[in-house]
Amino acid sequence: MIKMRGVTKIYEQHDKPALDNVDVDIEKGEFVFVVGPSGSGKTTFIRLLIKEILPTKGEIFVAGQDVVHLRSRKVPLLRRNIGCVFQDFKLLPNKTAYENVAFALDVIGRPERVIRSQTPEVLKLVGLEKKMNSYPDELSGGEQQRVSLARAFVNRPPLLLADEPTGNLDPAISRELISLLDRINRTGTTVVVATHDREIVNFMRKRVVALEEGKVVRDQLRGVYGHED
């Protein structure tokens, strides 16, 4: 599903690379945590996969597509196969929970009929069927993140990326959210979560890719966050 070969990213006005010669393979259907302290390159890792930024060096393949050399016209098509969840939720403030989720289907040109049946379904999956008509500022952080998750998942993408999804949530809510991600993973969706939330990593016991100063320092199946980090 994801293949990175020798990926290096150096931001302008920084001399140290954010990612340094990273090789990673993630198979279809896996659930992977990318962990590491702030500034270790987790967010860069995620942003590269959706071509929000380009690597300085290296090859990136997502679902068989060469992301680095993808024509900019084709980038929207790539992103439709990748659901994204962010620490700051990135919900449209002037749309309700329902509209935010329906929007993702609107964008990819799904007919109204499909939107009307799938949107409530996925909102029910994340447990928000009673708050469909609330605006983001009327929802709690956990609820907003669940709307964001519903939006990411509503068109059943083969890959779901989450960048610090629990960064703004308290521990109990975080665990709930990760359980939701786990349920989505069980439907066959590949899930990649970038996080420095030690508790959820240890709780889930999934594959862990640890980054430090842009390098992969550990790649372990059924791993934990690691005491040294």
């Binding site: 929000e52 994204c84 002037n94 929007f103 040109g109």
Partner: protein, 297 residues
């Protein structure tokens, strides 16, 4: 991706309502600038027809010798008519000249009484297609047997043409600056409105929206704002025309400038049409231009 006009129009209308403060800012900017441009254009129209009328009043008068033979007069007249610069040649006999003078001095008969016989010469009055050729034509005409003296308001004419030239160029430069300033102002207002929604644009792009999918609602919204703004502007211009036409006409009648009112009215309505078009185009282009940098995500 299918293009769904109804969806885009719906989005545009919804965001127009939800972002009404910015919408009002954009609409009033468009209205104000188009109103100023319209007002300026109307003044320029009137000024340019006044200039044209003044310039066409310039003509050459060739006074004829009392002793000139009719054949010489006739041949000079024929020659003049054949010149490409000349629009029209009128022969004014001594008697006609006296009639005119009597007409002009109606109020002061004592002036006429003091005159013995008819001291006025006959003349040829030459009007030109291009009044600026007045000097060359006058020079070429000089020295004909029948002609005593040529007058074309030497000195005054040159000054008149300098003045009209300056007015015309000043008008063109001012119009150019005005259009430029308006465009910058409108694009900046729209840019501000889009800046307030840059997160929205970024989210659309992250969810996988194509650039045109993001652009259409903004462009339609821009057209809507431009249209409303231009309609406000032309509404005010129309009211001004209705309420001030009579006094403007009176003013120019008093100045003895015979303006061509039907033609000016036609130009006025044409201008209103162009202003509506300009509003829509500026709105659409402004949105597209202002959006460009936020689409690069």
């Amino acid at each position: 991706m299918r293009i769904r006009p109804l969806y885009f129009i719906g989005e545009a209308l919804a965001s127009f309502r939800k972002n009404w403060v910015m919408s009002i800012a954009a609409v009033s900017t468009v209205a104000l600038t188009l109103f100023i441009i319209g007002m300026f254009t109307i003044v320029a129209f009137i000024l340019s027809s006044v200039i044209k009328i003044q310039e066409s009043k310039v003509e050459i008068v060739a006074f004829l010798k009392d002793s000139a033979k009719p054949e010489d007069i006739q041949s000079t007249q024929n020659e003049l008519v054949s010149w490409p610069e000349v629009a029209n040649v009128r022969y004014i006999s001594k008697e006609q000249a006296l009639e005119r003078l009597k007409e002009e001095l109606k109020g002061q008969p004592e002036m006429l009484d003091a005159m013995s016989g008819n001291p006025l010469p006959a003349s040829l009055e030459i009007s030109l297609k291009n009044p600026r050729a007045v000097k060359t034509v006058a020079k070429r005409l000089d020295g004909r047997a029948a002609i005593e003296e040529i007058k074309y308001g030497e000195g005054v004419v040159e000054k008149l043409f300098v003045v009209t030239k300056v007015i015309r160029w000043a008008g063109v430069i001012f119009a150019f600056l005005l259009c430029f300033a308006s465009l910058v102002l409108i694009v900046n207002t729209i840019r501000l409105a889009i800046f307030a929604r840059r997160k929205e644009v970024a989210i659309m792009k992250l969810v996988g929206a194509s650039n045109w999918f993001v652009r259409w609602p903004f462009i339609l919204e821009g057209i809507l704002q431009g249209l409303i703004g231009s309609l406000l502007a032309i509404g005010v211009l129309y009211l001004i025309k209705v309420f001030s036409l009579e006094s403007v006409m009176q003013f120019f009648r008093w100045l003895r400038v015979p303006l061509n009112y039907p033609q000016l009215t036609q130009q006025f309505y044409l201008l209103l049409g162009y202003l509506i078009l300009a509003g829509a185009v500026i709105g659409a282009l402004g949105s597209a231009v202002a959006l460009r940098r936020y689409l690069r995500v």
